[in-house]
């Protein structure tokens, strides 16, 4: 299973953190710090995999964002690259030519999308269409409910 996924910028700022294993805040911060440092130190020509503690780290850079996943020993590194790519495609489709700013200003959406693609560290839906449809419907549900309530609240978070 995937133990966690981190998204961070070239400056090391965290943009998303999804943890599928229980760890204290302190431990999460420590791991994040270490990994960010390690990945940012990699040269561009190096391969996308590295061993870290007892895990395998698969990372890929898309524009200004690093997508970094920690998988277990028996997991397939190459398919994890595909998982990362699929997630980026989903974000891209949803936001329309996604960039880092989209993820910054709409971080909750990024989480919602991820939660329709992976669950408990495993792939739950392999159809791009189905994931996007689910998000769409949830967004719609939010809007409709907001209308029921009337003026005050925001229709985008």
């Amino acid at each position: 299973m995937m133990q966690f996924m981190l998204l961070f910028s070239r400056q090391g700022k965290l943009r998303l953190q999804k943890w599928y294993v229980p760890l204290s805040d302190k431990e999460k911060k420590k791991i994040t710090r270490e990994l960010v440092q390690t990945v940012l130190a990699r040269k561009p020509k190096m391969c996308s995999f590295l061993e870290w503690r007892d895990l395998k780290i698969v990372y890929k850079r898309y524009a200004s964002l690093y997508f970094c996943c920690a998988i277990e020993d028996q997991d397939n590194e190459l398919i994890t690259l595909e998982i990362i790519h699929r997630y980026v495609e989903l974000l891209d489709k949803y936001f329309g030519s996604v960039c880092e700013l989209d993820i910054i200003f709409n971080f909750e959406k990024a989480y919602f999308i991820l939660d329709e693609f992976l669950l408990g560290g495993e792939v739950q839906e392999t159809s791009k269409k189905n994931v996007l449809k689910a998000i769409e419907q949830a967004d719609l549900l939010q809007e409709n409910q907001n209308e029921d309530w009337g003026g005050l609240s925001d229709d985008t978070l």
Binding site: P22, N76, E82, D92, S97, I104, E108, L119, E125
Partner: protein, 808 residues
């Protein structure tokens, strides 16, 4: 437009600020405004200020219990949390939001729960009820949220409470919910393995689903069940045909817009199925047989132009080599890996190297075929690849390729990153040891390694090389010439310097006598040799051990060289006052060899006999460097425990007669001890019969002392204390301690045991060595502690009536 490009574009096209909706300005910031402001902060301090101010607002809002705004406030808090600021005061708000009927609230609330709550806090249990309600009564999106949260942060307790709810959702109509329920089950089993009982039965039916999401989850669930439970593994072997069918459908059905990636049908599902097949086929002929053809088909038909196809291929290869596959299929798998090695994509090369490393033991000849490609990978600039290539290369060395492989590895050693040097060096040395075609090649190889990476070799490399050279008589001249040249060129590589010094010392005469046929005629003058060794001695680059080698070598040369020894004597006497204790000691002893024991010098400094590989140095007199040290060590090790015993004893015996003894200090006094300690460990004492002495007899436990005085060492008395037991009860925890008057030295060796079984069982023996150079009358104080007849006993007494022969 490709994703990467679109992402690049985004920067330039985004407006600087997002449009604000026209409405009443609220006292605190909207989420996006907050984010804007935080990003606008120029310093860390400024950022902190903005956030602290906003958090105060958020806290106030939480306190006021403003329901419609709660989700906004929490969202802001979650953002701030991601930046690393504390957000624990939002935990309760998550609970409230989750309990709200509004979907917006639940969405943010559950997200908050996943980010802020975990099983370490008691608060997390409070959401169990909400989850239960949402699972049983919620709309599909709500059920989805609940299942997602449960799978992300659900603790064992929560899982136990909610297992039944999840089970119910496994077979409900909506695929959207079912696919999540299945994965929730996976998480629950990981947390509470006993729940396997609930989730095993539905699996077979779920496997008939067409929905890829449900299939995906089901295959994952079955995998998890099988990995945890051998009974489940046996049970699920029956689904192998079904899994094969799923795979077949995927591979044959061809392109499906919804699920294809780069021309490969649902690679995620394929990989998952292949992994399960691996687990089911392992160690099971029938299952392996059933999947053989399909694996071959996937292996040959998958499109390898893009990563997706290679991912499937990779998983296929892993499965083929792990199950009981036909040999043809195995060869195919290894060949695929070989092809991967040639792939332009570094990632593919990486997984290939990793997999080949796993296979190198079991499929050695198949992997050997790819050796040239593996060796190519040594040149990878990427360290994680070259490391794997190194490991694999070392594993592929055998007697037929040793020369060429060593050549390659030596080349790698010269340029590889520092952290790989040690492994590479020791790998080469090990391979050389195992497969060296000739001794000369072996020596050359080790020398080359020492020259290239001397600082990184293991400590025993020096010993190994000296042993190797020592044992190859025909190569002595060759070795000493080569080592001399190497040393003359560079005295910084310590292991090399040490070996060279040793060699020059041993075979200095061969060095001077002329050239060895294949090396260039090397006319070496005596003075040059001495100068070089002195240079080593004086250099700040030399480690203390190295200087020891050099000094000893100089000493040996005193018997090998024609000229007079004044220069050597001078150097040796200078080092007699060296600050380094070890060097000082050696120098002083060597000085003694020049003076008092000059008649013995040539015998002591004779060439070492040819040693057997792996054996310790022979304990014969006339050895060179080793001798002064080994006896000292040999005698010292048995005394370590008893020395402390002695001190304990001395502490407790507060006798006024001054029995206090310093622990036997074994410094060699110049001139004396060298000889007498030479003899101590190895010679068995020849017996001049001295009567024994019974010193203790109580309730069946007897202690008898027997004595031996070796004739060559008048000052030494060997006492063997024997404890025997004729009573009906065992004597246990027996400890024997002794003390002697000031002029004596005492060492106790390790006793044979601490138990004397009853009724004349095997006695405990312990040897005591007493040194009595002044021939003073022998007295001893003995202390015994032991358990006998269920009681602990302590006895202290003095023994005075030793036979005269023991000390006169």
């Amino acid at each position: 437009m490709r994703v990467e490009e679109s992402l690049q574009r985004g920067w330039s096209q985004r407006p600087a600020a997002l449009p604000r909706p026209a409405r009443m300005v609220l006292p605190s910031l909207k989420l996006q405004e907050l984010i804007q402001e935080i990003r606008g902060a120029k310093t860390q301090a400024q950022e902190r200020e903005v956030i602290q101010k906003e958090c105060a607002h958020i806290r106030a809002a939480f306190r006021e219990g403003d329901a419609p705004q709660r989700h906004l406030q929490l969202a802001k808090l979650l953002y701030v949390h991601m930046l690393g600021y504390p957000a624990h005061f939002g935990q309760m708000e998550c609970l409230k939001l989750i309990a709200s009927p509004r979907f917006t609230d639940k969405r943010v609330g559950y997200l908050g729960a996943m980010l802020l709550l975990d099983e370490r806090q008691d608060a997390h249990l409070l959401i169990t009820n909400s989850i239960k309600n949402d699972l049983s009564q919620g709309t599909q999106p709500v059920q989805g949220l609940a299942l997602c949260t449960l799978s992300t942060m659900g603790s064992a307790e929560m899982c136990r409470d909610l297992a039944n709810e999840v089970e119910k959702l496994l077979l409900r109509p909506s695929p959207y919910v079912r696919k999540k329920a299945v994965l929730a089950a996976v998480h629950m089993i990981r947390k509470v393995p006993e729940l396997s009982d609930i989730f095993l039965p539905p699996c077979t039916q779920l496997l008939h689903e067409r929905h890829h999401g449900i299939l995906m989850g089901t295959v994952t669930l079955i995998t998890e069940l099988c990995e945890r439970n051998p009974a489940a593994l046996t049970h699920f072997r029956q689904v192998v045909p079904q899994l094969v069918q799923i795979l077949r459908t995927l591979v044959i059905s061809g392109y499906s817009a919804e699920h294809s990636v780069a021309g490969v049908s649902d690679p995620f599902l394929q990989v998952q199925v292949l992994r399960l097949l691996r687990i089911l086929g392992r160690n099971h002929d029938e299952s392996s047989e059933a999947m053989n053809d399909m694996l071959a088909q996937v292996a040959t038909n998958t499109d390898t132009s893009r990563n997706a196809g290679n991912a499937v291929l990779y998983e296929t290869v892993l499965t083929i080599v792990d199950i009981r596959s036909a040999s043809g299929l195995r060869v195919l798998a290894v060949n695929i890996l070989g092809r991967f090695l040639l792939n332009n994509d570094k990632n593919i090369r990486y997984v290939a190297l990793t997999s080949l490393l796993r296979l190198v033991q079991s499929d050695h000849s198949a992997v050997q075929r790819h050796r040239p490609t593996v060796v190519e990978c040594l040149r990878e600039p990427d360290a994680s690849l070259s490391r794997r290539a190194l490991e694999l290369s070392l594993a592929l060395v055998n007697s037929s390729n040793i020369r060429s492989m060593t050549q390659e590895l030596q080349g790698f050693l010269e340029s590889c990153p520092v952290d790989l040097r040690a492994d590479c060096a020791s790998g080469i040395l090990l391979a050389a040891e195992r497969f060296a075609p000739t001794k000369r090649w072996h020596i050359d190889t080790i020398m080359r390694v020492l020259t290239t990476a001397g600082a990184h070799v293991r400590d025993d490399a020096v010993a190994n090389l000296t042993q190797l050279i020592g044992g190859a008589e025909e190569l002595h001249a060759y070795s000493v010439h080569r080592l001399y040249s190497a040393l003359a060129a560079d005295i910084s590589q310590q292991p090399l310097v040490q070996v060279a010094a040793w060699c020059i010392g041993e075979y200095g005469d061969l060095l001077l006598s002329g050239s060895y046929e294949e090396t260039e005629p090397l006319q070496v003058q005596e003075e040059e040799v001495l100068m070089l060794l002195e240079k080593v001695l004086q250099s700040h680059l030399s480690l203390p051990a190295t200087r020891g080698y050099a000094l000893t070598a100089l000493m040996k040369l005193s018997t090998r060289l024609q000229g007079d020894n004044n220069r050597i004597r001078r150097v040796v006497s200078i080092y007699g006052s060296c600050l380094d204790i070890e060097l000082q000691q050696r120098a002083v002893e060597y000085n003694a060899l020049f003076r008092k024991y000059d008649h013995m010098r040539s015998a002591i400094l004779e060439k070492m006999p040819l040693v057997e590989h792996g054996g310790p140095q022979d304990d014969e007199p006339g050895e060179g460097k080793e001798k002064p040290w080994s006896p000292k060590r040999e005698v010292q090790s048995p005394t370590e425990p008893p020395t402390s015993n002695l001190l304990d004893l001395l502490d407790l015996l507060d006798s006024a007669s001054g029995d206090a003894q310093p622990p036997p200090a074994l410094d060699l006094m110049p001139g004396d001890s060298l000889l007498h300690l030479l003899d101590l460990p190895s010679k068995t004492p020849s017996l001049a019969p001295i009567p024994g002495l019974k010193v203790f007899d109580r309730e069946g436990l007897q202690i008898n002392l027997s004595f031996v005085r070796p004739p060559e060492t008048p000052a030494l008395l060997l006492i063997t204390a024997t404890a025997s037991n004729t009573s009906k009860s065992d004597v246990t925890h027996f400890v024997f301690q002794a003390a002697v008057p000031k002029s004596f030295q005492l060492q106790l060796q390790i006793p044979s045991g601490d138990t004397v079984p009853a009724q004349g069982g095997p006695p405990i023996t312990q040897v005591l060595r007493v040194l009595n150079p002044n021939k003073a009358p022998l007295r001893m104080r003995l202390r015994l502690t032991y358990n006998h007849f269920g009681q602990s006993v302590q006895e202290i007494f003095e023994v005075k009536d030793f036979p005269l022969d023991t000390w006169q």
